[in-house]
Subunit: 555 residues, 2 copies
């Protein structure tokens, strides 16, 4: 067994077991504790981030004559980092060349190298936090967790699924059959895992690592080489990732071009050229439904895995913990200014109000409790920054500004000023009250901190409307508050049919936005929010093929 595989094998086995049991498990600590990451880890990362600014990013040996890059931190300054850019043909050729040895390596060899890469990425989590924060706009703590350990867990999960899947194919078997009265024919059969070729992974601006790692590591583990096309606004986290990966690959004796960066700019995007290149066999895409549809329809003959977007709903039918429910929902709406793919947008509440542990609450009282929850979270702007973070794009900020006309304003959005980053682009959640009939307002994705409290007939009506929205427009999350089992059963059936994970009665420290690696199937692939789940067996099993050899054994 290869040494790196032996080194990381216990972790891989734990990961495979975790994905089977789906109980709470994580490989990489989400705590920033110096006891885990080292006394100097944070300070060193602060310095390392400053040193990266304003310079060409160093990716030794990476093809590309010129450097491009125009990232601007949502916290109000230009990063000034540039990255080597090669023509698409050059990238694909370099990727193919690197693929000969990588594709011929054993699943164990590849898993060993990949787990070493993830371990090194883990050690760089504080620097990654800066990179993710200043591209996505996430608050530092969230950037550390979601961009660091949680993303690393997803990478490990992809390797675990891929390894598990490949392990089910035996390398060799002796096959014998009576083929005549006095004749037995014996064949020595071998089965070789063969990759698809070159994989393209198209990243997004809001979760540049968390959403990119599953496809990237799934393709790598199954023997494909990978070209990463980051969002032009969030290149740095993936450049850091690839720098670490390329170094580890070279140390292990592989061509570092097994992973390549394809940075582009908003003025001259490369994504379509890459996606249509005949040398690309697999595409993983995270981004808008419009571009997702383009990829799905135009990348003919390629394997395409997409995570797009949808209309996530909460249905409030009744609750036995009104206060905690409002706080929980308020947090979900506030976290990263509603820029998570799992953030709720539509909250269905009976027009006549609901029964609660505090007695009957009217529609307005429910809406107001959520508003108050947000107000409380954001009362102190500097504390607010840790929840809200910054708004990734100007388009989202603009969308929030224009949202007030979509309904009766329950809570208006403002732009808190953070003392540590006065130039940050910020927007607190706007909440609008509408009637169920106002579909043009709420039956479209309003990406960002925009939500609707929608008056419906009753809980069942809310469930039906939320499930229909998921079927038609897609959804990645859904939540229900209800105290009676009949309503809960109804919701379970309706959302299962609509292909949405349903969270029920969340009032504690878990939020509808959160999908845990190794436990939750993130995106189901069963509604328009995406055609695949990150990560399950179907996400990995088609990235490789098996080619057999049958050799007759002399009688």
């Amino acid at each position: 067994m290869p040494a790196l595989f032996e080194k990381h094998r216990p972790l891989l086995e734990q990961a495979i077991a975790a994905a089977r049991s789906r109980a709470n498990w994580s490989a990489y600590p989400e705590s920033q504790s110096p006891k885990i990451y080292g006394e100097d880890a944070k300070a060193n990362a602060d310095n390392a981030f400053e040193a990266l600014k304003g310079k060409p990013f160093d990716l030794p040996g990476h093809p590309g004559g010129k450097h491009v890059g125009g990232e601007v931190s949502p916290y109000g300054f230009a990063l000034g980092v540039t990255y080597p850019q090669a023509e698409v043909d050059v990238l694909v050729a370099a990727s193919k060349a690197a693929g000969a040895k990588w594709g011929a390596a054993s699943p164990e060899e590849r898993a060993g190298v990949l787990l070493e890469i993830i371990a090194r990425i883990n050690r760089a989590s504080f620097l990654m936090a800066h990179a993710v924060m200043h591209t996505s706009g996430q608050a530092y703590s969230m950037a550390f967790q979601a961009g660091g350990p949680h993303a690393q867990d997803r990478a490990l999960e992809a390797v675990a699924y891929a390894f598990d899947e490949m392990s089910r194919v035996p390398g060799a078997v002796r096959w014998s059959k009576q083929t005549g009265k006095d004749q037995v024919t014996t064949l020595d059969k071998t089965f070789r895992i063969v990759p698809r070729g070159v994989a393209l992974v198209i990243g997004c601006a809001t979760f540049p690592t968390w959403n990119t790692y599953p496809g990237m590591f799934a393709s790598l583990a199954t023997g494909n080489t990978v070209i990463v096309k980051p969002h032009p606004g969030a290149i740095l986290p993936l450049a850091l990732t690839l720098g670490i990966a390329r170094e580890a690959l070279a140390e292990a004796g592989f061509d570092p071009n097994v992973v390549l960066l394809a940075p582009d700019t908003i003025d001259r995007p490369l994504t379509k050229e890459l996606a249509l290149h005949p040398g690309i066999g697999i595409i993983d895409f995270t981004g808008s439904p419009v571009f997702g549809a383009w990829v799905r329809e135009n990348a003919k003959g390629k394997l395409v895995y997409t995570e797009e977007a949808g209309l996530n709903s909460i249905v409030i039918a009744s609750t036995d913990n009104f206060r905690a429910m409002a706080t929980n929902i308020a947090f979900s709406l506030t976290l990263y200014s509603g820029q998570m793919c799992t953030a709720p947008q539509n909250i269905f509440v009976p027009a006549g109000g609901i029964e609660t542990d505090q007695g009957h609450k009217s529609f307005d009282e429910v809406a107001d409790a959520i508003k108050s929850g947000i107000d409380k979270l954001l009362a102190d702007p500097d504390r607010a920054s840790a929840f809200l973070g910054a708004v990734q794009s100007e388009a989202t900020a603009q969308r929030v500004k224009e949202a007030a006309k979509l309904g009766r304003v329950v809570r208006s959005s403002d732009s808190p000023v953070y003392s540590a980053a006065p130039g940050a682009r910020t927007a607190s959640p706007i909440i609008l009250a509408v009637d169920a009939a106002d579909e043009p307002a709420y039956m479209a994705e309003r990406f960002g901190p925009i939500s609707f409290v929608i008056a419906v007939r009753d809980g069942g009506d809310g469930i039906a409307r939320a499930a229909a929205a998921a079927r038609q427009h897609g959804a990645i999350s859904a939540a229900l508050y209800a105290t009676d089992e009949a309503t809960i059963d109804r919701a379970i059936g309706a959302f299962a049919e609509a292909g949405v994970t349903l969270s029920i009665n969340l009032t504690g420290g878990v939020f509808v936005n959160q999908n845990a690696a190794f436990s939750d199937f993130h995106v189901t692939g069963a509604n328009p929010a995406g055609n695949a789940c990150l990560t399950d067996a179907a996400f990995v099993s088609n990235r490789f093929r098996v080619v057999g050899t049958k050799r007759q054994v002399a009688a």
Copy 2:
């Protein structure tokens, strides 16, 4: 556990183990022995087949006002059987309605019913042999084996893979996490297997059961309902299959419309209308590359699995058993008149001849040895019938007639007359000698008993050309004869890269045409001969999705 599942569980577990080990295993005996199938089985089936002729086929409760059908046996008579035909909208609606209960059943319930169905199909193997023989043209013995037990093995294999894949998803788990200093949040999570919806399986005329069962049973096992669209020339084997399945489904308390037949005629084909219907979520297709390409390009947003066709090659570099090699190849070319998707077409032989255990053999001597092998097999027309069978379509017979102009005729085709079926449409193999440069002749699929012996520079040249043909046009099988390890290694690498299973030095009772269930990965999905393998994890894992529910447990 459901009773039917318990009844068939040992067999299912054996099948799962066999698919893992890939050693020789079969669930359903390929021997026609009365000890296995019963003393009267064959005679009863003969009578049953006669009773089916010239009548409407009885499928109780099947939708469809009118009856259609125009099958003509390649052995020279019209079957005269007609089948209920419903409009596409009616079929899809009936399938959806049946899907509610079928999709909600547990994987165990479904597996139990499906294994019961396969067991009953097995008991009908003699009748199935008649149905397959008189639609595909296969000889009776082959129709019994390939259309009966071997096809049933493939069905079981699909159920085994699907069940294994679904078993990896736990039904429920309790998930707990420290979510605050003094807070643990606990969620009860459940995971529900959700089908894609309605699956369409498009059958072919040459292997109506063997090629249809994998997609059909994979979709059924994962909770989808299935509409089977047989080739208009080979409806009866699938009508028999569905008749048995519908009866068993009804007995188990399910709507028999879980499986539906969509017969059509050459004059009014229904395939495109079915494939484009928005209610169809999965399509399995076996047939020509032209129609396969149409399905792949037009069935947008659906899961599409195809087995199309390709250029299968044999490369002869050297041999230590010249006589047995020639006999083995002769049999491969003769079996079912070259109408297997695995039948070789192109035989690459060095222009300067090869070294053998009988000394040097010239190019012409190699070609002649193969010709002689065929002549010997076919010397007695009545014995010949057992190997050749009949030619399924007039187009193939015509293609053979026109093939002589494609090269120098090494062996000409004739039409043996079988005393038991003087009206059979027959064609013995034609062999043409060509130069490697004559690509227009041999670099296109010539479906039927047409093969080329192609003069190449040496074994390496042959390997390169055969592998290139596979990459460009697809291939499902490849064979090599070579005595030196360097040539063997070269071929293993080249055909692995081209995504073709390679058979080496077959001189015994196994032929390059044969792919064994539970052992060989039939079609790799890695070249244009098909986009999927029948059957592997990737063939089943995307036919269902997993939808989770997370319910907070009171602290």
